[in-house]
């Protein structure tokens, strides 16, 4: 397990949004703690990474999980647009821009991760501006 992000990667952007933005904003604490899920991110051309949200804490590490609760597959351009708040995660999914697995049996997790991303982007924007 490697916790150090690489500069300019989707992994680094995920760190910024989930750790600095989402966790760094006390307003999100109840929302983060509502569920526990491991989300596998597979971004085209990059090292896969896992966002593990457990007990109200967020850990991000490179590699793959043997049994993720959810899986997100995207190319890096779409990932960046969603994680910079330029594209809605739900609309991206509906338009086949990225794939979010787990939707059949885990609507709760799918809905939650989409809203976690939006909350993280919103909080990061507040911190920056």
């Amino acid at each position: 397990m490697n916790n150090s992000p690489k500069s300019g990667t989707s992994h680094e952007l995920a760190q910024e949004i989930f750790v600095q933005g989402l966790v760094g904003d006390p307003e999100n604490s109840d929302f983060i703690a509502r569920h526990d899920r491991a989300i596998q991110f597979t971004i085209e051309g990059e090292t896969p990474f896992v966002v593990d949200v457990r007990g109200g804490k967020v850990e991000i590490y490179e590699g793959t999980s043997n049994d993720p609760d959810l899986a997100i597959t995207a190319n890096s351009d779409i990932f960046r647009q969603v994680f910079r708040g330029l594209m809605s995660p739900g609309e991206a999914w509906m338009d086949d821009q990225w794939w979010v697995g787990g939707a059949f049996s885990d609507y709760v997790g799918t809905s939650w991760i989409m809203r976690l991303i939006k909350a993280g982007v919103h909080s990061r924007m507040k911190q920056i501006w």
Binding site: S88, G90, M94, D96, F104, R115
Partner: protein, 351 residues
């Protein structure tokens, strides 16, 4: 005739839907989307039950959609994004549309679809069926289906189709009770389904299916509708007068040929009613019956979007998972499981 008292007879079913299943609570924003041809007394009963729970209720009445899963007007789509709970007592469903999926998955709404729902359905034993007991049956089905790698479906009508189950992401289909954020429930006077997206990553479903009833057509088909399926796509449609309708969709609607779901009913009290409406939602929930959709699988764990989702129906399938029979000629075998039977006794339910 004191017609108004009929509402009293549906209130137990409405309570089951609003309180036990949807879990509507004080202070929540509830949106009811209906149309001008749906049963007004059902809308009134749903709104009343939500109000009694302490929710704030807004009702939108729109023109009926022209076909199932046609997108609602934008003003409806926007309103759906601001609701904690959405009920759609409606003629043609909008449950698998972009508007509903965005409202659920990106805004966290709980969505209860009630298409072509009749007063009779809401009076039925199926509508009153205990939600925890359905969850128990679901868990028992999941122990077999959710862990299997191969599915084989046959029926005496000539159906013989099989496929691989390539991911846990592609099986399931029922919400928690009470429902949680982002979840979906079709309450067609009954609840209880389990299924999968047979397309999978490899789109490997192959075989032939013959259907006893078809979406948008009232009653049992005189000549079974036939699909020939290759690699998760319908490549040939045959049958009676209804076949042309489905052939047109398969050949002309983008992704209309996509095999979007195999799904069984779990509710032993749900009735096989085919001659009252075009959607057959209660029949779909009849324990052991199979419905199969073509078109959109986007809301079902799949990754194929189509502007159509049409369910066709087999009354008595046999379904085998890795050699274990789950459904035998329409009989859902887990209904005999001791855990299920014990819980049924607790609730005073038998079948």
């Amino acid at each position: 005739m004191l017609r108004g008292l009929e509402v009293a007879d549906i209130m137990e079913g409405v309570h089951n839907c609003v309180v036990n299943c949807a879990g509507v609570e004080r202070g929540e924003n509830v949106l009811i989307v209906t149309d001008t041809v749906s049963e007004e007394r059902i809308v009134q009963a749903l709104a009343s039950m939500c109000k009694a729970q302490g929710a704030d209720v807004v009702t939108i009445v729109m023109k009926p959609r022209d076909w199932p899963m046609q997108e609602p007007p934008e003003i409806v789509a926007q309103a759906m994004r601001h609701a904690d709970v959405i009920f759609t007592p409606i003629y043609y469903s909008i449950s698998h549309t972009r508007a509903s999926i965005i409202a659920r998955l990106e805004y966290g709404a709980r969505y209860i679809n009630l298409p072509t729902l009749s007063m009779d359905s809401l009076k039925s034993e199926a509508a009153k069926f205990p939600a925890p007991l359905i969850s128990k049956i679901y868990d028992k089905v999941h122990e077999i289906w959710g862990r299997a790698k191969k599915i084989h479906i046959t029926a005496e009508n000539g159906t013989d189709v099989s496929g691989n189950i390539v991911s846990k992401f592609y099986t399931g289909g029922m919400p928690h009770f009470p429902m949680q954020e982002g979840e979906f429930l079709a309450f067609g006077g009954a609840m209880g389904i389990y299924g999968m997206w047979p397309g999978g990553d490899e789109g490997d479903a192959n075989g032939v299916m013959y259907f006893d009833a078809a979406h948008m057509f009232v009653g049992k088909l005189e000549v079974p509708l036939k699909y020939v399926i290759k690699n998760g796509r319908v490549v040939e449609v045959d049958g009676g007068k209804e076949a042309e309708h489905f052939r047109n969709i398969v050949e002309n609607v983008p992704n209309g040929d996509h095999l979007a779901e195999w799904m069984i009913g779990l509710n032993p009290k749900a009735r096989v009613i085919l001659d009252e409406d075009v959607t057959h939602v209660e029949a779909h929930r009849h324990a052991g019956a199979l419905h199969t959709a073509i078109g959109n699988s986007k809301v079902l764990g799949g990754d194929v979007y189509a502007n159509v989702h049409l369910d066709n129906y087999i009354i008595e399938p046999t379904m085998i998972f890795d050699g274990t029979t789950l459904v035998d000629k329409g009989k859902l075998l887990v209904l005999d499981d001791p855990d299920v039977q014990d819980m049924a006794k607790e609730y005073g339910v038998s079948w």
